[in-house]
Symmetry: C2
Subunit: 298 residues, 2 copies
């Protein structure tokens, strides 16, 4: 691999916390995001403007977004499911949003009772308003390497959905192995197929470590040319489809690997480890970061 | 990576158990090894004929080795530190042994109060007897990517030690990242350097997952051409230099990755998972295999 720079998209405060049972008060979330921005991270997903009924953990989205210190040069995307969410996000000054769909028909049907195409249609008004407002949009495609309901997901479906999000104006499309079943050769082949249709510079990878494969998958995708990696500090966030299993890959472990390979991330790993350890204490759980476990073991 | 076959060297019954505090009775160890051979594994490190004073867990080496069912086509190497150990191993019929040293001067001094060269000299009589007896010898080189005492380990030292073991008659040299600090580019560069001096078909890699890097390192080394991987069922074995941290990479997770990549191992993954879960229960600890955790999570 010949690369000097990788951008980490830190998703712990949204994708991570959304799957944590311990409810954190808004001031702790604000402290988390402020700590994260002090590590040198340039993209920190801050919260989600979904209905509080769906995700009670993030019911305080407006308060959190208002409360965080906006560091110049750092993006704070927020998840937005529909126009109401978009309006709430804009009301507090969000300048970057994220939208999400799945590459699996069965997953979309189970989760939002819509087909893939319908799910994309639903956020076209959001994308149109974002374009008019000069708001950047990141797109998530989940279940790119497997689905808890339909099993295998055809690569062609991943390509189609990713291309559609890109055509609709997403500056970056994050390809997510939601259930963590993927292995390196499949991950790389999937990325390769998508990169035939849209620029690899517009792609990110998002791996869950449920089967312990996340770093190997990231390595394979770096070899394929991706330069943006989603991860979650302290590995925050479980796997909603396998309770007790690990969810998002830990940012600390990704950064440790990258720095060990001579790749520049702009992140202070020691500060990131300290932030992850602090968050784990707030959540009353053991960190899922191997690096942090190794560093703090005696 | 273009490969169809990888051989897993299962080290759980020796390298793994040696670092576990819970003492297992001989009949449980025998059951473990017999279960492992039923999975299709072709190389199963069985025990160690070191002094029982050093490793109380393996004081029953002779009883265990005598008790296991010797499946035709399966190798059961045993660790041997010196001529006394060799004699004990031969007395119970061992036909393959393993010897070990470190690539780090500081590590050898701390552990056996000898230089690298002295440590190698010490087992030359063992290697001579093995050659005369037609006994196969596997060589371990530890601390190939870092040392708990001296930190960095020069690649030249790894190359020199590996070459010496090979010249002395080891049919295979296993390169071990004992403290698990290595990252993929360094792992690959180290392997590449060693492979300039001896055939890559005579090399194995042995990663500890202390920093979560093991599978990524294995992937990088597979790309470099290695086809033999050491691992430990259920990730058995802690890290003696970072208590509470993970040790050996779990065989289940390695096999899951390999099978997902279309690589043939000859191993029945379901049987391996069942064996690891059973062993974890015997040790009264949670499995360190992510795959097993994900499969058994509800």
């Amino acid at each position: 691999m010949n690369t000097t720079e990788v951008r980490i998209v830190e998703v712990g405060a949204r994708d991570g916390l959304q799957n944590e049972k311990t409810l954190l008060p808004a001031d702790v979330k604000i402290a988390l995001i402020d700590r994260l921005s002090s590590t040198g991270l340039k993209t920190i997903e801050a919260t989600s403007f979904v209905s509080p009924k769906w995700v009670p953990q993030l019911a305080d989205a407006a308060e959190v977004f208002r409360g965080i210190r906006k560091v110049p040069g750092v993006s704070y995307p927020v998840l937005v499911p529909n126009e109401q969410g978009y309006q709430r996000a804009r009301d507090v000054g969000a300048t970057e949003i994220a939208v999400f769909t799945a590459a699996s028909e069965a997953f979309n049907q189970k989760n939002i009772h819509a087909s893939i195409d319908e799910s994309i249609e639903r956020f076209i008004p959001v994308l149109e308003r974002a374009k008019a407002d000069g708001v950047k949009v990141r797109g998530y495609v989940s279940t790119v390497l497997g689905c808890p309901y339909q099993g295998d997901v055809p690569v062609g479906d991943v390509v189609r959905v990713a291309r559609r999000l890109y055509e609709l104006g997403c500056y970056e499309v994050s390809l997510g192995d939601t259930i963590g079943v993927g292995t390196p050769a499949k991950a790389r082949a999937m990325l390769h197929a998508v990169a035939q249709e849209l620029p690899i510079s517009a792609l990110a990878v998002h791996f869950h470590d449920t089967y312990g494969q996340a770093l190997a998958n990231i390595l394979a995708c770096l070899d394929e040319g991706v330069r943006v990696v989603d991860s979650s500090v302290s590995g925050t966030g479980g796997c909603p489809y396998a309770k007790g299993a690990t969810g998002n890959v830990a940012s600390e472990d990704v950064v440790y690997m990258l720095h060990g390979m001579g790749v520049h991330t702009g992140i202070d790993l020691d500060l990131l480890i300290a932030t992850g350890a602090w968050l784990a204490a707030q959540l009353h759980k053991e960190t899922a970061s191997r690096v942090t476990k190794a560093r703090t073991a005696v």
